[in-house]
Subunit: 135 residues, 2 copies
Amino acid sequence: MRISKVNKMHNLSKNQQIIFDLIDKSSEPLKAYAILFNVQKKGIKAPLQVYRALDKLVEIGKIHKIESRNAFIACQNSSCQVAKATAFSICEICEKVTEISSAGLSKYLANFKDKDGMKYSKYNLEFFGLCKKCR
Amino acid sequence: MRISKVNKMHNLSKNQQIIFDLIDKSSEPLKAYAILFNVQKKGIKAPLQVYRALDKLVEIGKIHKIESRNAFIACQNSSCQVAKATAFSICEICEKVTEISSAGLSKYLANFKDKDGMKYSKYNLEFFGLCKKCR
DNA sequence: TACACAATGTTATAATATAACATTAACCTA
DNA sequence: TAGGTTAATGTTATATTATAACATTGTGTA
Ligand SMILES: [Zn+2]
Ligand SMILES: [Zn+2]
Ligand SMILES: [Zn+2]
Ligand SMILES: [Zn+2]
């Protein structure tokens, strides 16, 4: 396998890199229009440019969407290669979001079968409560 | 405890009842503006009237929001008195949504502790896959 | 080179949700 | 049953989130 192939696996384009860097260095989930505002100085002017980069970054697992907040967070779990099994804790006061990395939880959910015996390979779980600081 | 008190627990107002009835008889999750369109003949004319009823219905657990779809579904689980622990399966082809009612799952999630030993009383879980019909 | 595909740029618009303020209904209790 | 309180409603305007459509440019590969 050549270097170029290795890189290609998750080689980010210019816009993708700009937007990923912003999300990755943020201490909190970012919303699409907050991202847009922050990257306008870098030449990204339109919502669609942001959403396209976000879509791709979600697809390859570099970021995740917090569905209940319409916001995006960098993957905090180096093993998330694909956006297919995600779990988060969300503080209902300060809105701090943490990606949960629990082998037990992911094993349990990956093996969960519903009443019809159906197994699901993809899921998103959001826990809500109060973080340490807010209790 | 008087009758009025018993009823009051989940006595729906006029708009709440209209909107709940619509969602309850629907075979699929409904979006807010689809609801608005459907209840305009009943005198509900503005988005805010719909969103206010939806907020209340979610709060008391009569309906749930499918976060990944921005849509609302009637509670299919008679024991959901409050919107605090929900789980759904979602077909990625036909978009059929089913509320999962599994004692094992809810027990596991209610008892789940993160790395810091934190327990969460509230969660939302969405599984994705293909339903029987779509496989 | 030439092809295929991914990414970009741009304008416009769709879809989802809330702010602000005035009014009315329902409920509780003195 | 009058008065106070809270919940719900009505209405207009606006904020926020997301996509359609189409033209163009870059990138890797045969
Ligand atoms: Zn991750
Ligand atoms: Zn907190
Ligand atoms: Zn339910
Ligand atoms: Zn299906």
